[in-house]
Symmetry: C2
Subunit: 126 residues, 2 copies
């Protein structure tokens, strides 16, 4: 497999935007290191590096809400990935389809949760 | 205006994914600090902090390719912004509509530029 010259940051990480291939909804953003990116390519499922837990993370490992990789892009600076996936159930661990469930009113700056939960996160993550 | 409690990183920055509101294409990702975010809210045009040039940057300042802010979202961790815009001409300084003009073959890992340029960047950026 060809090695792509991606630009990882000072912590060895690159942000990966995850987009629903069916309707182009942005589902989440998370970070990969070189190893997580290679695991993602090899397995066809998204793997990340968790900055808070300091460990690798197969998306859907505990919830079953995996992401099947369909298309991979990188940007002109080679420092950001865009990955189009088929999302199983939901991307967000808080029960929403997308992590971007809060909208900011551009006039008042007021945040508002505009999405409906599609699963009960307390039953999934114990 | 209400102050949103966003989580800026150790450099005081938050990544902002910029998405075309018309077709949900992801156009680019760049970074804002608190000041750039407030400028973006106040003016309705995206402002960023350039990590390489270490200066503020109104998108479209030199090219005229501004981004009109229509909707703003943040994620469950409050550490990533998603901004839907009307993109004037193109987002990428290399002449493409989107910065994500390179696609990676998920089987071979081979990169391929699959988009057509829509402007001659040598004429715009002198």
């Amino acid at each position: 497999m060809e090695t792509i010259e991606l630009k990882y940051d000072e912590n060895g990480l690159i942000p990966a935007i995850i987009q629903d291939i069916e309707n182009n909804e942005v589902l989440m953003m998370a970070y990969m290191d070189k190893n997580a990116f290679e695991q993602t390519l090899r397995t066809g499922k998204t793997h990340f590096w968790s900055r808070s837990r300091k460990q690798y993370w197969l998306k859907g490992e505990s919830s079953g809400h995996t992401q099947e990789v369909k298309e991979i892009y990188y940007d002109c600076d080679k420092d950001t990935l865009l990955i189009k996936v088929i999302q199983n159930i939901a991307a967000c661990h808080e029960g929403y389809r997308s992590c971007f469930f809060t909208k900011v009113d551009t006039k008042t700056g007021k945040p508002d949760i505009f999405m409906e939960k599609i699963f009960d996160e307390k039953k999934i993550y114990k």
